[in-house]
C-alpha cells in the first residue's frame, strides 16, 4: 500500500451511513477487510445517533478513535455527522460496498425505509442508477404500513407469507389504497398468507419495474433492510425470475462502501503529502467535539 507508513499507527477507516430509518457504521483495515459494524435506529436526533453508532462500532472493533485515519459519512443524514472527514453520496458508497462483497455484481437492488434504488455496476464501478424516493409504494414504508394494519411484526409477516404459493393480486400500487384493499380482502375471507404474499409481490413488482428500465443483468444483489425479510426475498426472485444474492448483513453495504472510500481518500491525501495537515485541521474542528461528547 502506498504511503501506509505515514498513517501508522492509524490504520483503520470508518464509514457511517445515516439512513431514514437505520444508522450503520463499519470499520475496515488498510486492506479493506471489515473489522466491525453496528446497526441502530436513526431516530429524530441524527447527531446523537451518529456519535452513538460510531462509538459502539469502535468499541466492538476494539479500536480507539485515535486509530481511525479517516471517516466518510453517507446516507440521507450524512450532513449530520460533524466528525466525518468527507461526505459521499449513498449511491457511490453503496456501489462500492456491494462490489466489495460481490465483485461480479451487475445489478444491485436496495430497498430502504423510504426509498428504493437500482444500480448497474460493471467491474466494480457504478455505471447507471435509478431511484424512487417519490412514492412509498416499493419501499420499506409500504411493508410497515401493511404490518401496522395487520398488527403483525415485520419478520412474522414474512414467515406467514411463505406458507402459500397462491398470492392474491393487490391491485392498488398506492400504499394508502393498498391498506384499504388489505382490509377489504381480509373481510371477504381471503387467507392471511395469500394476502401477505400478495403484498410482497406488489412491492417487488414496483421495484422490478424500476430495475427493468435499466435492464436487469445477473448476478443481482439485493440489499437494504427489506432484504432481511424472507417473504420479500421470495417475491423478489419470483418477479425477477432469477435468484438474488444477499449479504450476511444487507443493511451495511452503504457504510462498508463509505469505509472503503475513506481508506481510498486517506491514501490519496498521503500520496499528495496532505494528510498531516488535513488531520490537524480536522482535530481542531469537529472530531474534538465528538471525542468530548463520547468520553
Amino acid at each position: 500500500m502506498p504511503g501506509m507508513d505515514d498513517l501508522t499507527p492509524r490504520l483503520y477507516f470508518a464509514g457511517i451511513d445515516i439512513g431514514s430509518t437505520m444508522s450503520k457504521a463499519t470499520i475496515v483495515d488498510a486492506e479493506g477487510k471489515m473489522l466491525a459494524y453496528v446497526v441502530g435506529p436513526t431516530g429524530a436526533q441524527h447527531r446523537l445517533r451518529a456519535n452513538k453508532v460510531m462509538e459502539d462500532t469502535l468499541s466492538k472493533a476494539g479500536v480507539p478513535l485515535a486509530d481511525i485515519a479517516y471517516i466518510v459519512s453517507t446516507g440521507y443524514g450524512r450532513v449530520n455527522v460533524p466528525f466525518a472527514d468527507k461526505q459521499i453520496t449513498e449511491l457511490t458508497c453503496h456501489a462500492k460496498g456491494v462490489a466489495a462483497l460481490f465483485p461480479d455484481v451487475r445489478t444491485a437492488i436496495d430497498i430502504g425505509g423510504q426509498d428504493a434504488k437500482v444500480l448497474k455496476i460493471k467491474n466494480g464501478r457504478l455505471v447507471d442508477f435509478l431511484t424512487n424516493d417519490k412514492c412509498a409504494a416499493g419501499t420499506g414504508r409500504f411493508l410497515e404500513v401493511a404490518a401496522e394494519t395487520l398488527g403483525l411484526d415485520l419478520n412474522e409477516m414474512g414467515n406467514i407469507s411463505l406458507q402459500t404459493d397462491t398470492p392474491v393480486k393487490i391491485n392498488s400500487l398506492c400504499t394508502i389504497f393498498a391498506q384499504q384493499e388489505i382490509i377489504s380482502r381480509l373481510s371477504t375471507g381471503e387467507p392471511l398468507p395469500d394476502i401477505l404474499a400478495g403484498v410482497y409481490i406488489a412491492i417487488a413488482t414496483r421495484v422490478v419495474k424500476l430495475a427493468r428500465q435499466l435492464k436487469v443483468e445477473v448476478p443481482v444483489v439485493f440489499t437494504g433492510g427489506v432484504a432481511k425479510n424472507a417473504g420479500m426475498v421470495k417475491a423478489m426472485e419470483t418477479v425477477l425470475g432469477v435468484p438474488v444474492l444477499i449479504p450476511e448483513e444487507p443493511l451495511i453495504t452503504g457504510s462498508l462502501g463509505a469505509a472503503i472510500l475513506a481508506r481510498d481518500e486517506a491514501f490519496k491525501l498521503v500520496q499528495r503529502g496532505e494528510y498531516q495537515a488535513h488531520r490537524e485541521k480536522k482535530l481542531t474542528e469537529a472530531r474534538v467535539d465528538f471525542g468530548e461528547k463520547t468520553k
Partner: protein
C-alpha cells in the same frame, strides 16, 4: 307526461344518481357512500332518487351506469366514466373544453369538443395525492371538517412547502410542520398546492383550453380550486354539485339511446 331517464355512477367513495326529463332538466339527484356491495348501493340509489323525484320505477324509460362499481347496477347500458363526465360537463357548461376531475382514487384530465365528445384524456395512476383522499387525511390530522379545509386554505399567507408528493410521506411531513409551528391554514394551502401540482402533471399530452371545468369531490374544496387556478393560470368553472356530473352524463346517454 314527460319521460324520465336515470344515470347511476358508483365511484370508489361515493355512489351518485341523477334523474333527468325529456328536456334534459335535472329532476332529482343524490349522493350516498359507495359501501362494500355495489349492487345493493345501486338498488338503494335508484330507490332513493325515485322517492326524491316523486316517481315510480316504471316512469324511468331508460337508465345507464358508470364508475368503478357501475357494472353492478342493473342498468340498460354501462359507459366509461370519461365519456359520461364529458357529456355531463357539456350540459352544465357548454363552453367548457377541458375537464379536471378530482375523484376519490385519482384524477383525470379530459379534452372535449363543443358537442361534449372526448378528444383526448389522461388518467392518473391510482394515487392518493392526486385524489380527494389526501384531503381527508389532512383534515383528520388537523382535526377540522373536510368542508372547512377550503375556507381555511384561503386565509393562508405563507403556504407551507412540502418536499414529497406521496401521501404516506406527506402525512409525516404535515406532523413535522405542525411541530415546527406552521399555521393550519398554511399547511392546508401547501397541501392544496401539492395536489394541484400532481393534477397539472397530467397535462402532458392533453391541451388545456378554456374554459376549464373542475369536477369530482375535490371540486367541493374552494382552496383546492384556487390552487388549480393558480397552477393553470386560468379561471375555472365549478358546477353547483360537482360530484354528480358523471351520473348526469350517464342519464344523458340513456336519454339519447332511448330517443
Amino acid at each position: 307526461m314527460s319521460a324520465y331517464y336515470l344515470g347511476i355512477d358508483i365511484g370508489s367513495v361515493g355512489g351518485k344518481a341523477v334523474i333527468i326529463d325529456d328536456s334534459r332538466v335535472i329532476i332529482a339527484s343524490i349522493v350516498i357512500p359507495s359501501g362494500n356491495n355495489y349492487a345493493t348501493t345501486a338498488a338503494s340509489l335508484k330507490e332513493e332518487v325515485l322517492n326524491m323525484a316523486g316517481l315510480k320505477p316504471e316512469d324511468i324509460k331508460a337508465g345507464s351506469s358508470t364508475g368503478t362499481g357501475g357494472r353492478n347496477a342493473a342498468a340498460d347500458s354501462y359507459h366509461g366514466v370519461i365519456v359520461c363526465n364529458a357529456r355531463g360537463v357539456n350540459l352544465v357548461f357548454p363552453s367548457a373544453r377541458t375537464i379536471v376531475d378530482i375523484g376519490g382514487q385519482g384524477s383525470q384530465l379530459i379534452d372535449i369538443d363543443e358537442k361534449g365528445q372526448v378528444i383526448n384524456f389522461n388518467i392518473s395512476e391510482i394515487c392518493a395525492t392526486g385524489s380527494a383522499r389526501l384531503l381527508q387525511l389532512v383534515a383528520r390530522i388537523l382535526q377540522v371538517n373536510i368542508e372547512d379545509l377550503g375556507p381555511l386554505s384561503l386565509k393562508s399567507t405563507q403556504p407551507s412547502s412540502f418536499s414529497t408528493s406521496c401521501t404516506v410521506f406527506l402525512e409525516t411531513e404535515v406532523i413535522t410542520r405542525i411541530a415546527q409551528g406552521d399555521k393550519p391554514e398554511d399547511i392546508v394551502a401547501g397541501i392544496h398546492r401539492s395536489i394541484a401540482d400532481k393534477v397539472s402533471a397530467l397535462t402532458r399530452g392533453v391541451n388545456i383550453r378554456p374554459e376549464v371545468a373542475v369536477i369530482g369531490g375535490g371540486a367541493l374544496d374552494i382552496g383546492l380550486v384556487r390552487s388549480i387556478e393558480e397552477k393553470l393560470k386560468l379561471k375555472v368553472l365549478v358546477p353547483q354539485n360537482p360530484r354528480i356530473i358523471a351520473a348526469l352524463g350517464a342519464a344523458l346517454i340513456a336519454r339519447d339511446r332511448y330517443i
